[in-house]
Symmetry: C2
Subunit: 209 residues, 2 copies
């Protein structure tokens, strides 16, 4: 499964018994969808009459959203690599003490990367939420609901990637490292939820619902 | 853009200035991702030792999830059709009284379908949430986080599709019809939020976070 898979194939792969793509890949797709919709709102605002005052702001928003979309699209495959690396480390030989020590070190290194990879996705989704808030505040009213969809997708991506941080951090022996990543995710979860609900309500108010 | 587009192409299309695919398509994809992940959890539980007691339950869950995935994948294109139909109706000639009456009737008919199409997506996402709850309760603990990602994706899809119901229902002159759909969506939004938070907490408890 790559970013070049069709949507139907991606969904078939998700649904299958194969362990990847799974929740980590879905989280990255969700964040990327959010970033793409922020760009859509920006693209349908820049150059439109009555929105001159925010054209420059939305150009900057769009540039950031495009960079985040590239990052989150790449994260679909990084999740697979991180998962395979952990599985590969668990599969190393453990007949001798030397092998055992090597295997344990490999597992621990792989788990750290399998914690940091979804953490990068969490942070990227958090940035998308921030951009969606700007799009909902300043964007073309005709497509303001797309800013609402963007924030929902990005927050679902953030909360989904957070689960992978928690799972992998749990098995890490370096507790200082693990607890630091967990605390960072917990703080971002709270702030993301607040911003998401605020943006969704803003959008509902603007569409008069 | 179709379900056969690559993920990268779908994201490019979302981000572009073209009005479709937009939030409606993203909502359907989100729901379909949720359904696919429910199937994944079911597929990785059925046939596994220690889960014999729930094999039959999860076979039924999987069958329902597959049907909902097909429905939501089809909804990606139904959203485009509904949007184009509304735009087409607004573009009809209005030089004579007869043309004006015909145009108004066509707009109103198109708006009703553009309300019912996202409402069907809302309902399908609601069913996916129900199935994700069953998957989180009974599924293989090794992939329980995927049930959490499933419920988040489905709820984001539901709340996203809800925005399109609200927008299109607002412009409908038959207020009895419009208010009925809006009330139905509002009730589903409340119940979906409760179930989603409950499932997410269940998953966090099961993964020990």
């Amino acid at each position: 499964m790559t970013k070049n898979s069709s949507i139907a194939t991606f969904l078939d792969d998700l649904a299958s018994e194969r362990p990847t793509p799974g929740g980590g890949g879905a989280a990255a797709v969700s964040g990327a969808v959010g970033a793409a919709l922020v760009s859509m709102v920006a693209n349908l605002t820049i150059g439109k009459k009555n929105y001159e005052a925010v054209w420059e702001d939305l150009k900057a928003v769009n540039a950031e959203a495009e960079a985040l979309r590239a990052k989150l699209t790449a994260a679909i495959e990084e999740d697979v690599v991180a998962f395979n690396s952990v599985m590969g480390a668990y599969g190393l030989p453990r007949a001798t003490d030397e092998e055992k020590a090597k295997r344990t070190a490999a597992i621990q290194a792989a788990l750290k990367e399998a914690t940091l990879a979804p953490l990068r996705a969490v942070k990227a989704c958090f940035e998308v939420i921030r951009l969606a808030a700007a799009a909902a505040e300043k964007g073309n009213l005709n497509v303001i609901s797309d800013a609402g969809v963007a924030v929902l997708a990005a927050n679902a991506g953030l909360r989904s990637a957070a689960l992978n941080v928690f799972i992998n951090a749990k098995a890490i022996k370096d507790r200082d490292f693990a607890e630091k990543q967990i605390a960072e995710v917990n703080a971002l979860l709270v702030e993301a939820a607040e911003t998401t609900e605020s943006v969704y309500q803003t959008v509902r108010t603007k569409i008069g619902s």
